[in-house]
Symmetry: C2
Subunit: 312 residues, 2 copies
């Protein structure tokens, strides 16, 4: 990870445009858990990869992630990320859009360097799926008819696609069997789905400090996440009127977030969402059974536990 962090710092700069390192440093130095690049490194080493291409692909994955954060915060009009004011707030939306584009391009430069065409295909496919998932989320927001199928499509795009790409490129670098590549895809996919469900759960239940952003952001942005989709499916007429006013029409008043949270509690959808997250973590660990018996496989299993720890 030291090599990955050094590479990230080396490539996030720009000779010609000083605004770029200002913004990238603001976001990248804020920390972040670096879960995705860690997965790439582990997935490469556990298959016996000996080169340094995995460091470049790990940095690629983190750059794609960081670029999407910059653009997400513009789209969501967010004010807080990783416990700090967002770049769109400190600078402006324009800078966030363009510096995000720069990081995307830097990601593509990096991913070309190891010269593995299959890894390139996997990572560029992931980038397309992410954008597709974000657009789908945009059109599904405010729409009370959004169901769990659509939610899963959004989650698989915006989050799981990069997790599964991060773990797949490891075995691909060493030319592992298709079954092994598939196992690592399954692990990354399940962990990504789990990660997003946990995130969506915490938005209605975590303390602001624990999640590094504001509680209730999804409610204010009128996003249809799992706890809400399930509560709407179970809503009586009065509750439906509440969701119609707050989510579909966006007329939100003081106390509405608290009311929403009490409806989620009444229908047990926080608990069922938590259970769904735990199921996905278990699926991720099961996928590892088809991977090599290696200490790093145990580390990836621990990572799945770490991701659900916040709801457990």
């Amino acid at each position: 990870m030291d090599d990955v962090n050094a590479l990230i710092h080396d490539r996030m700069t720009s000779e010609n445009a000083p605004r770029i390192p200002e913004i990238t440093a603001h976001l990248i130095d804020a920390g972040g858990k670096r879960i995705r690049p860690m997965m790439t490194l582990a997935a490469a080493r556990m298959f016996g990869y000996e080169g340094d291409g995995h460091v470049k692909l790990a940095a690629t994955v983190e750059f794609i992630h960081t670029a999407t954060l910059l653009h997400d915060d513009v789209v969501d009009e967010s004010s807080k990320r990783r416990g700090r004011p967002t770049a769109n707030l400190l600078w402006d939306n324009k800078s966030s859009v363009l510096v995000g584009d720069y990081l995307f391009a830097r990601a593509f430069q990096l991913m070309v360097e190891p010269g593995n065409l299959r890894a390139l295909t996997i990572l560029s496919n992931a980038a397309a799926l992410i954008a597709e998932g974000e657009v789908l989320q945009l059109t599904a927001a405010q729409n009370l008819a959004t169901d769990e199928d659509t939610y899963m499509k959004v989650v698989r795009g915006k989050t799981a696609a990069l997790f599964s790409a991060a773990t797949q490129v490891g075995p691909v670098l060493v030319g592992a069997t298709e079954a092994q590549v598939q196992a690592m895809f399954d692990f990354g996919d399940a962990l990504g789905v789990c990660f997003q469900i946990v995130d969506d759960y915490l938005d209605y239940g975590g303390a602001g400090d624990a999640i590094g952003k504001n509680l209730g952001d999804d409610f204010r942005e009128r996003k249809l996440t799992l706890p809400v989709i399930r509560a709407i499916a179970a809503a009586d007429a009065t509750e439906r009127t509440f969701w119609d006013r707050t989510i579909a029409r966006g007329e939100q008043r003081d106390g509405d977030l608290e009311q929403a949270m009490s409806l989620l509690a009444r229908h047990g959808t926080m608990e069922s969402t938590r259970q769904t997250a735990l199921d996905w973590a278990a699926r991720a660990k099961t996928a590892l059974n088809a991977a090599p018996d290696h200490p790093l496989s145990g580390m990836l299993a621990d990572l799945a536990d770490f991701v659900v720890e916040r709801v457990n």
Copy 2:
């Protein structure tokens, strides 16, 4: 070009997010001159390339271009593009940002397909230079101290980088000599610089219908383009006060654009900008002397004439 257009239409869709084809169709079907992909096709065929990888790289180049247009219109808050209302006006900024990201990702998927690592390096470098140029433009706007050196850095990034990548990948596909690759870089670079200078000229002098966008957009966005940079360098104290109010402080009133245009005329900077554009077109044509003697070389020379025709 029929193959390129068919490929563009095939790849601009999305199964999961219907908003994507709506927006891409709005922009791509509006036409556009398709100058960049045409350059890629010509530059490949004139070096004797026989495969179909150049079609994919040509579509790549057009997708990168289209993605930057979507983001540029958000950043510039533009209302008109190719004679139509912009996507950010018809839908919203969020959709333009995310669909632009999708097109970037689709571009990278496409460029991987021919499997040529050097072409991948050239195109991903171009994507990074474009974003860098756009960020530099953002920070140079409103700044009366912006000089011609900074202007050229912006132009080389935001416009010439993609032109030169478009022409370089052709000879790269057939493994041409370094001198030949350099010649095609020089051609694309000079033509890109020429193209942008013409664009910046027309913003103060072309009819709105001829340029497909609004006259005076650059002035309203307080961009320091060549005619203005030269007029500011020649400004007396009164004129400097005018530029300071309109560009640096952004206090613009009715009649200011006309006043700006009369100052450009007074100092002959429209004429000198026009001359600079013609010089770059001539440089582009000279670069072709080092390329193969082929009918398509003549077509590229004609393209240079076509680009400056609007100021000639």
